[in-house]
């Protein structure tokens, strides 16, 4: 199956080359990284490659895809030996048609648009903390959907924009392309002058217990300071969770390219409250909370170091320390050589 998908990608590249060799050059972007984590004295190591392919076809079509290739090395207990397992995930492979300013139609496999984490913050070169929050497991249906998505701006002015995303996902049990049957939407209001965005999401799972999920997200990045505030609240049958995260790059001290200006402290607080036991919902079995302190350092050439410490408090279980350390590199280049004009 993976070979077939790759063959399709290569074919698309070839076709787009014939369509327009100079203006619509496909790009290969993405990130590579190495992450280590120590949770309760047990070590986990993960080398990761996450390539992104974008193939524009003509003026309105786009094929885009992202994969996640990682080897997961895990220790058998605090002083045990290491075992490893490889994972290859096709995160999205979608055909987009930009019908007009108010409508883009996406067909294929896409990231489920529920709140902001799944679509915007999962790339390893964007996320400021290594671990996903508890709320990321709510309303996303394993994170990926196979089906049809409509998105666009209902209204877009200089003062505000009202955006929407609506989708239907079918049940798929195909290896590497699994998805749940469900439907949902996200509706958001964005104010460009203050870079403030508030969104609300809903998902109805159309299989099994047919659960409902609701969410609210907020993002604020003022122009006056390199501050970023993000947060989410999400509710589902098994309970509800929230996270709020703030980061501040110290670029106001001697500029963003100074030694201190490359530093970015991060703090995230998250909690989960269990209401009903739901097996395999990706959430903690009991109430949980975790404050996390992180520090990112931005090197030249898109290289970033990140380190963080968190304390996980689980009800009825021993609390654990979570130490993370990682390095990421973001890359971008055209899919084939050619003239620079």
């Amino acid at each position: 199956m993976v070979c077939r998908v790759l063959s399709v990608c290569v074919w698309c590249l070839f076709v787009s080359c014939l369509v327009n060799a100079q203006e619509n050059v496909p790009i290969i972007s993405g990130g590579a990284g190495f992450f280590s984590s120590t949770q309760g004295g047990t070590n986990f190591l993960q080398p990761v490659l996450a390539p992104v392919l974008a193939v524009p076809l003509g003026d309105r079509w786009l094929i885009e895809s992202r994969a996640d290739l990682r080897e997961f090395y895990f220790q058998q207990g605090p002083s045990g030996s290491y075992s490893n397992q490889g994972f290859a995930t096709l995160e999205y492979l979608q055909l987009d048609y930009n019908a007009n300013s108010h409508l883009t139609i996406s067909l294929g496999r896409f990231l489920t648009p529920f709140n902001i984490y799944n679509e915007r913050i999962t790339p390893i070169w964007i996320s400021k903390l290594q671990d996903a929050p508890y709320a990321a497991s709510i309303g996303t249906g394993q994170g990926y959907s196979d089906g049809l998505m409509l998105r666009g701006a209902l209204v877009s002015t200089h003062d505000y924009a009202i955006n929407y995303e609506a989708y239907f996902s079918t049940l798929s049990t195909v290896n590497k392309l699994t998805s749940e049957r469900g439907a949902g939407y996200r509706l958001s209001v964005f104010i460009p002058k203050t870079r403030l965005e508030i969104g609300t999401s809903y998902r109805k799972t159309l299989q099994g217990t047919r659960s409902n999920s609701e969410g609210v997200d907020l993002t604020w990045e003022p122009y006056q300071a390199p501050l970023q505030l993000r947060g989410e609240w999400a509710h589902t049958d098994g309970g509800f969770a929230y996270w709020i995260q703030g980061s501040y790059r110290l670029s106001q001290f001697k500029g963003e390219n100074s030694a201190i200006g490359r530093l970015e402290p991060v703090f995230r607080m998250q909690q989960f409250f269990r209401s009903t036991a739901v097996p395999n919902d990706g959430l903690p079995a009991t109430n949980a909370q975790q404050p996390t302190f992180g520090l990112n350092y931005y090197f030249p050439h898109e290289v970033r170091l990140n380190a963080s410490y968190g304390r996980q408090f689980l009800a009825q279980t021993t609390d654990t320390n979570v130490w993370d350390f990682g390095i990421t590199w973001r890359f971008l280049f055209p899919a084939w050589p050619g003239s620079s004009r």
Partner: protein, 98 residues
């Protein structure tokens, strides 16, 4: 065996693209957004830069270098992610690749 083939194919593709990019960079002008902003009159770039900061810049920094050949694909990709309109897409393309 299939897994080995897959890993080999990935490595080969990555190596090919890296070599291609290395060759490309010999002739590639380093036209990051800040350079473009300096090269053009403020009136032409102001709107694109403003839109870039308001939309794309909310999640990530601009790439350190971006050749004009890459801009269209990058902005088309961003258009879908950041729900940009036709006018916004054109303005950002002008800002990144005047």
């Amino acid at each position: 065996m299939k897994r080995l083939s897959f890993i080999f194919l990935c490595c080969f593709t990555f190596l090919f693209c890296t070599l291609a990019a290395a060759q490309q960079k010999q002739n590639k002008p380093q036209t990051g957004p800040s350079t473009n902003a300096q090269a053009l009159p403020p009136s032409r770039t102001a709107e694109g830069e403003k839109l870039f900061r308001a939309n794309c810049g909310r999640c990530h920094n601009p790439p350190e270098s971006l050749s004009p050949r890459e801009v269209r694909a990058v902005v088309r990709h961003m258009r879908v992610r950041a729900v940009l309109t036709d006018e916004q897409e054109r303005a950002i393309v002008k800002f990144l690749a005047p």
